[in-house]
Amino acid sequence: MTSELLSLTAAQAAERTRAGDLDPRELWDLYRERAGADDLGAYLWLPDDAPEMDASGPLGGVPLAVKDLFCVEDVPSTSGSRILEGYRPPYTATSVRKLVDAGAPMLGKTNMDEFAMGSSNENSGYGPVKNPWDESRVPGGSSGGSAAAVAAGLAPWAIGTDTGGSIRQPAALCGIVGLKPTYGAVSRYGMIAFASSLDQCGPLTRDVTDAALLFGQMTGRDPCDSTSLDYPADPRLPSAERLDGLRFGVPKELLDTEGIEPGVRAVFDTTVKRIEELGATVEEIALPHSGHGLAAYYVLAPAEASANLARYDGVRFGIRAEAPDLLSMYEETRAQGFGDEVKRRIMLGTYALSSGYYDAYYGQAQKVRTKIADDFRAAFERVDLIVTPTSPTTAFPLGARTGDPLAMYLSDVLAVPMSLAGIPAISIPGGLADGLPVGVQLAGPAFSEFEICDAAYALERAIGFGDLPWK
């Protein structure tokens, strides 16, 4: 019975609970117990008591793992940082509240790279997360805890956040589905900010249907978020079996990226063939400025982060280092509370904004961003969807890139351009390379999430990725 329950996708489980065939409490107990026995480091906090169960909502009482970056009232919310140790927010993030209201009780808070800065989950202030496919490897990041939990059956589904690949890349490395929505589609209120103009939250799920189901309950304008919009379409679950008439574009600049592993390339090539077999056309397209995406991203995101993280000053919340005067209190608190990568990005961002450097760095990066968005706009006049590998590599060994920040940053080289353009993109498992999952990324124009999910669904069925690495 247990393994049968465990094999249900969230949507399948929700269907049963809503029909009265399954007690959601049973589901809760199963996953709560598994989460409690987590030895991957996927969770940072789990509740002692079961919440009240209600299966009547669209999410059917199926428990949800929540990245620690979301503020949840009176629940520890640290964004993976020691500087927020002990912080219990006095309010709840809009997206979490919406999902709980729709019937997905919070199962726990998942581990992550500190303040979402990282691509391996090794930057967590509370220890790394291990990849359930191979525990000597990273799960990707920054939503590594959420991805590992879903992949290992420690949660039916999860939410994470994506600033420059932080949902898609760990989803790819853990062999699950991750959807980064259009910027503005989901409220950011209550998401502990990394880079405000890029941050979006979205689902990490076992399959595309679960992603569409969860996403459909997250969207909508929030009066607490000035940058959120009404979603222009009604939620729907994917059902396409073929891709007839769809035009797919393969951006040659991104595929020429140095460092795409042969195994990743092979899975990608197979996927492209499958797309054609399903009735779609595939053509090469140009995104001429996408090669500069990573550079622009590593100016814009750290710059915004340098301001967003300035509030951690030991005055109103979080930790404080005792010091004899104000300046040392600030400096000591931040020196002790932040990890190395966070410091690096604060430094980078502060430098890029500092007097005399703004135009060359921040100003130029904003212009690159304009060009990248223009490139995508032009591309979507020719094709419906763009397809790339999600990550140049499969899951790499723990520690392999910690000494080389730039190498770590390159993990997101294929994911960052979509973030800069604010467009939606999904990563689905395309197959294995040397026994490790390879993700394929599908990107579409703004607010095309359900079209993306339709195509991804058809492709998912054709790929038939199969079981996850249950323990």
């Binding site: 503020c71 309010y91 509030r311 005055v315 703004y358």
Partner: protein
């Protein structure tokens, strides 16, 4: 060789005014504005800068900003954006202030000959309460932060350096305050900090065009202190230049009690605000409808009021401006004028000189007094005494006249006094008859002394001439 000390210097002053807007709620959250409440009773995750919160701008604050801009003749930016101004200080919860930078809401206006460079929206900081006994920054060990004020909507108005004396600066600031008061956008209370004026001061040899090094003067919390502070700084800079020294660019704190200026340089060091566009907010693009609504909400402003007083009531320019630029007195004048429209000049004169704001006199009483003068019941001299009583105690002027015997001397009483004065001033009578007309003053003076000012000067002269046949 030119002697430095013999030079004349001309001050060049620009003002920066922070105006707290009188909205119900803060700039970016729904906490109510407050003054004098218990510390930290008007806060929320947003105005405390908690992780994950986002700002949402207050519509009325934008409207008030537009009203101020339009009232100052500014251009309204078709699309203005907010920036983050980054600096660490315990009164700054997010460690950045949301302000406007290169595209302010309003720019390029003018008020009474002083150009307005810009007017932009921003949020106020919290209050640091210093635990040390001095109540000032230096010497205190620990401070406590009260975030009630944090996030209060502000409009910062920056003038061009078009002002050339401390007195002029104070007068212009008064006019600005009255303009803001008339707009109803702020409490404009300098004591409570809802209006805060900083001055940028430099001096240059008279007649030269290039600007000298400027200093910034803060914490002048009344118009009197503004004038004193600017004068002190002008004198300090002159002293430096006369001794051949150089003025250093710095921010100075003016001590209202001692009149001393002290440098705030330690706080200034390494200032690099790293402005960049606030990614949590979208642009403000005032629509035609928003601008028209703001324009329609603008009442008559002090400058226009002064012109109207001059034009419609025939007031001298000076008293018209004095009344219009001190709104309360202008209101008093108009209320009195509604009761007694016959002699606006006399009325204006009394309002400006004799019934200070807050006195016990009512507009009705002052109006009635002017009527009594017009009817010849009270002389102008005696009216001054009635005004003193009105200002100090209030009451009804007719009653005061009756109680104190201040009614105008006239008829047989005055005739008898005039006769007596003529008799006692034979020498003066002689001189008048010889054509030295000004000698009449001695006789008039005697009559006035005798009547204690209750007689009308013109009337007395007429009687004297009749009596002596001159």
């Amino acid at each position: 060789m030119e002697v430095a000390s013999a030079r004349q210097y001309e001050p060049v002053i620009g003002l920066e005014i922070h105006v707290q807007l009188a909205t119900d709620t803060k700039m970016f959250c729904g906490c109510e504005l407050s003054f004098g409440l218990d510390p930290n009773t008007r806060t929320c995750p947003v105005c405390l800068g908690h992780p994950g919160v986002l700002p949402v701008p207050n519509r009325r604050a934008i409207e008030f900003g537009l009203m101020i801009g339009l009232a100052l003749g500014c251009e309204i930016a078709p699309r203005s954006i907010f920036h983050r101004k980054n600096y660490f200080y315990p009164d700054n919860p997010k460690a950045f202030q949301i302000s406007q930078y290169d595209v302010p809401l309003c720019s390029g206006g003018e008020l009474a000959g002083v150009r307005v460079h810009r007017a932009h929206l921003e949020e106020d900081a919290a209050k640091l309460v210093h635990a040390g006994e001095s109540g000032r920054i230096h010497g205190a060990e620990a401070s406590v932060v009260d975030f009630n004020r944090a996030g209060t909507p502000l409009v910062e108005i920056v003038t061009e350096p078009d002002i050339h004396s401390a007195a002029e600066a104070a007068e212009w600031a008064r006019l600005l305050r009255e303009t803001l008061r008339a707009l109803g956008v702020s409490d404009v209370n300098m004591d409570e900090g809802s209006l805060r004026v900083d001055g940028n001061v430099s001096i240059r040899p008279a007649g030269e065009a290039t600007l000298g090094v400027k200093t910034e003067l803060k914490n002048m919390n009344s118009f009197r202190f503004l004038e004193r502070g600017l004068d002190a700084e002008i004198a300090r800079q002159e002293g430096i230049l006369r001794e051949g020294g150089q003025v250093e660019q710095e921010t100075l704190h003016f001590d209202n009690r001692t009149g001393a200026l002290s440098s705030l340089r330690s706080k200034e060091e390494a200032h690099d605000y790293r402005y960049f566009p606030e990614p949590d907010l979208v642009p403000i693009a005032p629509t035609e409808a928003m601008i028209e609504m703001a324009r329609a909400a603008i009442p008559e402003l002090p400058l226009a009021r002064a012109e109207r007083f001059e034009r419609d009531h025939d007031l001298p320019a000076d008293s018209a401006r004095l009344l219009a630029f001190r709104g309360e007195q202008g209101d008093f004048f108009e209320a009195a004028l509604a009761v007694s429209p016959s002699d606006p000049r006399t009325l204006a004169n009394y309002v400006v000189n004799d019934v200070p704001p807050g006195s016990a006199a009512t507009p009705e009483a002052v109006a009635k007094l002017v009527d009594l003068i017009g009817a010849g019941t009270v002389s102008r001299g005696a009216a001054k005494e009635v005004l003193e009583v009105l200002a100090a105690e209030g009451g009804d002027p007719e009653q005061i006249v009756a109680d104190r015997g201040l009614g105008a001397a006239g008829g047989d009483e005055l005739g008898a006094i005039v006769d007596q004065a003529i008799a006692e001033n034979a020498g003066a009578v002689e001189k008048i008859r010889e054509g030295k007309d000004q000698a009449i003053g001695a006789i008039v003076g005697a009559v006035m002394r005798q009547t204690k000012g209750r007689a009308d000067g013109g009337e007395v002269q007429k009687l004297i001439r009749e009596r002596i046949g001159a």
